[in-house]
Amino acid sequence: MAEKLLEVNQVKKYFTIQSGFLQRTIGFNKAVDNVSFYINRGETFGIVGESGCGKSTTGKMITRLYEPTEGQILFEGNDISHLSQKELRKFRREIQMVFQDPYASLNPRKRIGILLEEPYKIHNIYSEKERRGKVEELLEIVGLNADHYDRYPHEFSGGQRQRIGIARALTLRPKLIVADEPVSALDVSIQSQILNLMKKLQKDFHLTYIFISHDLSVVKHISDRIGVMYLGKMVEIAEKKDLYQDPLHPYTQSLLSAVPVPNPKVKKERIILQGDVPSAVNPPKGCVFHTRCPKVMAQCKQEVPTLQEYKPKHYVACHLYS
């Protein structure tokens, strides 16, 4: 029954570093380097990693805010990685995005109603009279009030603003929503409200989510499968249970060991990594993690490990398992 909705094949995003009057390219920032994964219809796929690992860039390539440098992104079997402007516009209805900072993602000069009607205007859906009703309906679906139609963003709290952001993502009835750290700017008490709202909407609207976060407990709460990224690479992909109980990649192991446990009697062994994350402009040869890996071998410094299925549905990119 697991039908693939989205497939990402060896996608790369290199940002060019330019300088001088003629904007000559003097280097590349390998934000995302050869990442592959797939997402089944109706599931929530979590992407975790520390800041700068390329998880947001991956999300923005899927929503086509960025054009991939190389590789393919297949949505329902169609390659969307190099669509023309016109095709892109049509495609925008299928994939929507929820943004990280609810204070920055709403245009401060537009009333909420105008903001939410805009997608209908752009795509010419519903008559002008119908639109207001549809928007008011949406506001109530996300737990706001139809009266909020005429208000400005600055009149709302962070949690309410994020609800508006979610409502906007729903206007076009997309199949896939990329949520880029949707709760990391919110208070913990509000976080769970928003997460529960997202779960409810997923059922009601048959949505598929890509949930990007650096917060392991949040990702654990909402995801079905999780991908772990490090320095532009996907290092491990597994079902949620499998990943949390039996992490394979040394990086995942160290990440999970850092999650605080609410029980003070449980003694956990922390795996503390040495050094900093290397720069994506000049990543290490071989396995990108070898400079910090506690289990590093000679092979790691030479060969790039590929993502392989070690156990059923559990993929890992590490020489320890090949």
Binding site: Q18, F21, L22, Q23, K60, T63, L65, L88, R89, R92, R93, Q96, M97, F99, Q100, D101, A104, S105, L106, N107, P108, R109, K110, E118, P119, I122, H123, D147, D150, R151, Y152, E155, G165, R168, T171, L172
Partner: protein, 301 residues
């Protein structure tokens, strides 16, 4: 009416009040707190109204000469005296306000429109386009404005239209730089990505979403710039290269008063046009400062 209904109605009432609290109202409330700005605004309104209703307010035809009554001191007949050709200074000031204000307003409007579009495109697209466009701005800025004005006006014959055109074509660069800077930061904000994701075109993003957010500093710069435009026009007219007599402008009225003996014997002739220029430019600056504070999003109350 039952109690519940009353509660609902009062809730609706407070909501309505909230609704009316728009950005403009908030800005207005902050603006009014600045006393100098309010004085400036009132003065400007008076001058503007006087210019509009010049034909009714004027006591004489501004070009009518009374050669027998030249350089007459202020009196009940001629409120502000007469000039060296016996023309009524009060009436000429009213008509001169029309020219000076129009030159200032129209040239600033054109400059702002050109500068906004130019800066918006450069800032939004960035990269090589931005680089080339902004180097061109540097070139324009490097022109010595006054000398170019004098040259162009000498070649093209001085007229109000030519002066407006030259002023506008040379002073859009400030706005362009300002808007470009705003756009560089605005386009990185998340709401830009948010409208892009719903499928908005570049045109829509630039003009309907980013530009309204870049408007506040432009309005301030335009207000302050208008004072400069009026001064430049007066300067040109003073040099005889601006608005040509007999059409009155504050600048060319000053030119008529250049004569040393006139200045000593008939102080009212150079004094009043000079005062009008001073008051107008000062008022514009006060209003500009007031707007800058009122539109500053950091000063929230």
């Amino acid at each position: 009416m039952s109690n519940e209904q009353i509660i609902i109605n009062t809730q609706a009432g407070t909501l309505n009040k909230k609704k009316k609290e728009t950005m403009i109202k908030i800005t207005w409330r902050r603006f009014v707190r600045n006393r100098l700005a309010v004085i400036g605004l009132i003065t400007l309104s008076v001058i503007t109204l006087a210019a509009i209703f010049a034909p009714t307010l004027a006591t004489y035809d501004p070009t009518e000469q009374e050669l027998l009554n030249k350089l007459a001191a202020p009196s009940s007949e001629h409120f502000l005296g007469t000039d060296d050709l016996g023309r009524d200074i009060y009436s000429r000031l009213l008509y001169g306000a029309r020219v000076s204000l129009m030159v200032g307003f129209v040239s600033v409007s054109f400059a702002v429109i050109i500068g906004m579009i130019y800066g918006a495109v450069a800032g939004y697209y960035g990269g090589i386009i931005d680089n080339i466009m902004m180097r061109f701005v540097d070139v324009v800025i490097a022109f010595p404005l006054l000398f170019l004005l004098i040259t162009v006006v000498t070649i093209l014959k001085p007229s109000v239209f030519n002066i407006i055109a030259v002023l506008a074509l040379l002073s859009w660069t400030g706005t362009a730089r300002l808007v470009r800077g705003q756009f560089l930061s605005l386009k990185e904000r998340e709401f830009t990505d948010a409208v892009r994701v719903i499928g908005a075109s570049d045109f829509r993003i630039i003009f309907l979403h980013l530009l309204p957010n870049a408007l506040a500093p432009v309005i301030v710069a335009a207000t302050l710039g208008m004072g400069g435009m009026i001064l430049t026009e007066s300067g040109l007219s003073f040099l005889g290269l601006g608005v040509q007599p007999p059409t009155a402008s504050w600048g060319n009225m000053l030119q008529g008063a250049q004569n040393f003996t006139v200045m000593l014997t008939a102080w009212w002739y150079p004094f009043f046009p000079g005062l009008m220029i001073l008051i107008t430019v000062l008022s514009l600056n006060f209003v500009g400062d007031g707007l800058r504070d009122a539109l500053d999003p950091r000063l929230k109350d």
